[in-house]
Symmetry: C2
Subunit: 361 residues, 2 copies
């Protein structure tokens, strides 16, 4: 194996940390995939070795998420941003209403694209509070084609802790908390997620869609934007993003071996708890969002004294901590603690916060 | 470095062979990218290390291809199949005419998508001859929005040896011979190419478009399907396919270091010559397409005696030759000899053909 340099503590918001064993397998496959003597980067996507990868990836999504045959599981290129448009293209009829909840930048982009194809109605928004909470008090119109939610808001550090009961299918952008906790597949009409937070590297997007919703809009669509084409062809209508899909399969294997959604939830809750506990206990830091909406994936916090921002960042860097600069629209710090983040790394951050308080408190 | 198994001779049509040094660098970057201590699979696409990769990839495309500031250079997800739709969405007005030359399956898919947005006129087709030649005798209407060509037809093994003089911008699908030979950038309005033949792995598509054509259709487009959005954001409107783009940059670096388009053309011509010479000299094999349209990338040939197909395939496999089964619509054999294919591997194939003729002639 390649000699690695000392591993940093990678708190990046995404693309984000992946399990070390996955990185090692991916590295090896770049030279020799499956003992074939060929690189994963130069094999046919229609060969039996890669076909097995695609089938296993789909089977793992079904098993881990509890999606039976009523759902199609697709792996697409183009990123979750492409889904902002593909969802209404495929599901929303001309002039028809779709319900959206505005919880931040990504929800807004989804709303913007839906306007090109139908009539998105924003049921609720926390924009006036800089998206520091998740609106929960709204009625879902039963004549909407679907209800669109963003389960986790990376920028602000908010997360939907409970999905509402909805009279219409829920469409959910789970890009930043996909497969980080158990959920009830029955509640959803469509789930999409760019892989690059919890389930793989950038370059592949998972779409899970109830088959009875396929073709709902009745619209004539370009083949590549039509879920039906991808479903009918097992995501092999065109050349898929081979390597990103392979690494996603490896990451899903790791997730299954590490207890699936129940197992990972316990770990994620424990990691979030020690960090939020420190934020609440440490007089030099404060959280940025409503306590009940705190994300288990992206922990945003500010220094109580703005002058502490730079020296704390320096102290964190010195401890090998990477990627905790907050998004410009919130400021301060953001520690992203996705599935693959070990608790030991979170503890390093907590220790730096304590030490910093001792020296500067 | 990782210990590699003995390298096979990879004649796959695509995803296809990449330079060994590129595979080794890619493998290393999966564990430690740029000495950062982080994997290329887990770093932010907005960090300075990856930003440098994206900028270098663009600069290399410009330098190698001779594209000045009048062109935008984009790296997109979704594959060339997405471009079949994005080209008319962006360039073709409702009801307007676009000229297409039908040289095979991929050209047909492009024509099919164009019908959703305007009026594609097929100027010429070699369908009746199973696409065994490239039609050249046609007039290009000066009121067409563009002329769409497929420069190389992977399935049939035909290649456009000279681009026509056109009164309208040429849009060219160069997926399977991009950067395999010099060409005059001035002739083109738009070029697109899935990376997975000559310039990288699957998962990223290069689009080079004349800036004055951006927004030509006047259509309101979803952000992800609008070239202007990607051009205005340096292909970073959303998270790009980070790893495929990185490996593409490495492959372009390799291409530049190996003499650029002039250098690679010499090597490609030499490789094609020794293989076609053998096909023409060996009584047990025959070519499948018009001699003047023979592709330098995909060399298709049949056994003169159909019963020889299986034993020859066995003999080739025994010599470490991989991926030469012909496409089902042509049959026989197809040896894809893209940029990264060494002449020594082509020689191995030629030697097997000679030996086979000795034993079976």
């Amino acid at each position: 194996m390649v000699e690695t340099t000392i591993k940093k503590h990678n708190f990046s918001a995404g693309p984000a940390i992946l399990p070390q064993t996955v990185l090692e397998e991916a590295s090896h496959a770049c030279l020799d995939f499956n003992g074939s003597g060929l690189s994963i980067l130069e094999v046919s996507h229609r060969g039996k070795d890669f076909d097995a990868v695609a089938l296993e990836a789909e089977a793992l999504v079904r098993e881990i998420g509890g999606f039976d045959d009523r759902f199609a599981v697709l792996f697409l290129g183009g990123g979750a941003s492409t889904q902002f448009a593909m969802v209404p293209m495929n599901l929303l009829k001309d002039g028809e209403k779709a319900a959206y909840v505005d919880t931040g930048v990504w929800a807004n982009k989804a709303i913007k694209e839906a306007k090109l194809f139908g009539n998105p109605e924003v049921l609720a928004s926390s924009k006036d509070a800089n998206y520091s909470f998740i609106p929960k008090d709204y009625d879902i119109p039963s004549n909407a084609a679907y209800l669109h939610l963003t389960s986790n808001n990376t920028i602000y550090g908010t997360q939907l802790q409970q999905f509402p009961t909805s009279p219409v299918p829920i469409v959910c952008d789970m890009s930043s908390d996909m497969f980080s906790r158990p959920f009830d597949a029955e509640q959803f009409g469509l789930i999409y997620a760019g892989a690059q937070k919890n389930i793989g590297p950038a370059g592949v997007t998972v779409v899970i869609v109830r088959k009875d919703l396929l073709g709902r809009s009745g619209r004539k669509l370009p083949s590549m934007f039509d879920y039906r084409i991808h479903a009918d062809n097992g995501s092999m209508y065109n050349t898929p993003p081979v390597f990103p899909l392979y690494v996603t399969m490896l990451t899903l294997r790791w997730l299954k071996a590490n207890g699936g959604l129940t197992g990972i939830q316990q770990k994620n809750e424990a990691k979030a708890a020690i960090l939020y506990d420190e934020i609440d206990a440490n007089p030099l830091f404060k959280g940025t969002v409503a306590v009940e909406d705190r994300s288990r994936m992206n922990v945003c916090f500010l220094p109580t004294n703005p002058e502490h921002e730079e020296p704390f960042m320096k102290a964190a860097k010195a401890a090998g901590i990477d990627g905790i600069k907050g998004h410009r629209s919130v400021g301060g710090f953001r520690a992203s603690i996705y599935n693959a983040m070990p608790q030991s790394s979170v503890q390093v951050l907590v220790d730096v916060m304590r030490e910093f308080a001792k020296l500067n408190g």
